[in-house]
Amino acid sequence: MNTQLLRPATAVPLLIFAALAAVPFVAGALEQPFWISLFARIVIYAIAASALNLALGYGGLVSFGHALFLGLGSYAVALPAFHGIDSGWMHLAACLAVCGVGALLVGVISLRTSGMAFIMITLAFAQMGYFLLVSLKQYGGDDGLAVAATSRFGPLDLGSPLALYGTAWVVLVLVTWWMARLRLAPFGMALRAARQNARRVNAIGLQARRLQLVAFVISGTLCGVAGLLLANLNAYASPSSLAWTISGELIVMVVLGGMGTVFGPLIGALVFMGLEEVFKGLTEHWMIIFGPLIVLMALVGRRGIVGLLESASAAKRTKLEVDKDANTDPNANDVPARSVGEA
């Protein structure tokens, strides 16, 4: 176990967590409060990517509409705040309820399909959510809705960037830890098995569809929590957070980091948004570099950055050790398999 902690694939993410924890102190020392909100955004998107990873990485469900939950979570803060409710617990309850029910609805209908149809219908649901929110004039419509009162959990007010950052960091740690445990728990194992071969899973008496639905609901709800944090960070909720490009970016983050791994989403979010900042600084036309990079990533393979780290350390160890660790390794990629439902 000790040697596992020291391997690059585990050590690097843990170092990243530590570095992220240090950000507020460093920013304070350098008098650059801007860094806190910048990294808060990264942490929040890492949470959203981790949520998507549950459905996409573990479950093999290519959801192109996860931005819907990000948006619903944001509005779960903005709408009650509009009516004067600033209790964080109410916001959280609204978020969990709305996103849970929403994910259930989307999941039940979408899981009747598979492959491209699944991708399309999740996209369609996100589009529907977008058009619905845009048409609500009394809640700002396309202009979005300012959060009149940020979430307060007792003495903790998420309106303060520092409080928000701390909360987001804690949530990310918790979610990552949960995903690590879930991966090896019976539910997680069955889910990952269903991704590789749903027929076999059904044959041994488990119901693949039900497992996937549960995973999808949890995934959507967690993504909604990220949306709640985002609304507090921006003090704003906007239909533009439901754009299909956001869903696409979340998928890129998950795959870039390492699909189906525990730390992949965190690394993916960090690298993706970091690169975006760097390129934006270089040129207005940064998408011309970014686009082909994504294409390259798709061509090269889906092991992601975590996969690369894994290879780096595996090269040093004997084959025997690699095989022994494969099943309990939080960083092992599952064998690439076809999407949901394909025989």
Binding site: A124, I288, P292, R302
Partner: protein, 306 residues
């Protein structure tokens, strides 16, 4: 709600449907036979529109512009197929989504870099610039031309697929690609050709849409999403399905936009109708797709698989 208005709206729906069909035909074949999710299809449509706009501006001949649009899309499509797409056939849909997502970003930015963010101007050709009088209604001749072109393509593709040897290979490839390859047919070449034809159709759609719509960066995405809805409703891999579904979607969308707000106004008060009407109208085709998928997931007119 007069009969002539209804007729005009039906024609509008038909015309929109035909434009969708041009896009959907190529996309559904690529998806049905190669099982490749091509989000960049909208970019091919955009490139066709740009090439046609440039061609028309340079030569003054609309026919040449259409040819330019189709040629440009064909060339780009083939290049993409050979370099990127063919490497991804055996991979998961996720890889297709990622790769083509990156391509969409790239092409949108490329177009903006080369031609600027300003939309391009394309004139309707003089010979089609008039209107046709229909039962006291003026209907643009150009849109009739689109309907005619689309129906011609539909007939031509039907003949190609049902009555020619190549068409037979395509149908066989849709049912069992490995077997066709094993029989000695160059499946790689067939795939490349198919992708190219799909790209060409997208280019044609873009070229025809240019005079009517705004030619600008990102013009492909809204149409792409509707096209994907069409394919899912029609049944993946089926060109017939694409045609019927495209016409259905075109008509539902058009009539929905016009009549839903009116209908809602009958039952609810004005302010609710004003808010709900357009929202529901925008969502109508997605609702239709959700219903179809819930009841008949393989689509309304699926291609028969072996």
């Amino acid at each position: 709600m007069s009969a002539t208005l209804l007729l005009a709206q039906l024609l509008n729906g038909l015309q929109y449907g035909v434009l969708l069909f041009l896009l959907a035909a190529g996309l559904t074949l690529v998806f049905g036979i190669m099982s490749f999710v091509n989000l960049a299809h909208g970019s091919l449509y955009m490139l066709g529109a740009y090439a046609a706009a440039i061609g028309y501006g340079a030569s003054g001949s609309f026919v040449l512009a259409i040819v330019a649009g189709m040629a440009a899309a064909l060339v780009v499509g083939l290049v993409l197929e050979v370099s990127i797409v063919s490497r991804l056939y055996r991979r998961d849909h996720l890889d297709h989504v990622l790769a083509t997502f990156g391509l969409v970003m790239f092409f949108n930015e490329l177009v903006r870099l080369v031609w600027g963010p300003q939309p391009l101007f394309v004139e309707v050709p003089q010979v089609l610039a008039g209107t046709v009088d229909l039962f006291g209604f003026t209907y643009p001749s150009y849109r009739f031309a689109i309907i005619v072109a689309g129906l011609l393509v539909a007939v031509a593709s039907h003949l190609l697929i049902q009555k020619t040897r190549v068409g037979m290979l395509i149908r066989a490839g849709a049912q069992n690609p490995q077997l066709v390859g094993a029989l000695g047919v160059n499946i790689g070449l067939l795939n490349a050709m198919l992708f190219g034809v799909g790209a060409m159709l997208a280019g044609l759609a873009g070229a025809m849409a240019g005079p009517v719509l705004s030619v600008q960066s990102g013009m492909g995405e809204p149409v792409l999403i509707t096209t994907l809805v069409v394919i899912v409703i029609g049944g993946i891999g089926s060109v017939n399905g694409a045609l019927y579904a495209a016409l259905i979607v075109g008509v539902v969308d058009t009539l929905g936009r016009v009549y839903l707000p009116m209908l809602i106004r009958l039952v609810a008060e004005r302010s609710i109708a004003d808010a709900a009407g357009p929202a529901l109208a925008s969502m109508s085709i997605y609702l239709l797709m959700a219903v179809v998928l819930a009841l008949r997931p393989q689509g309304l007119f699926p291609a028969r698989r072996g």
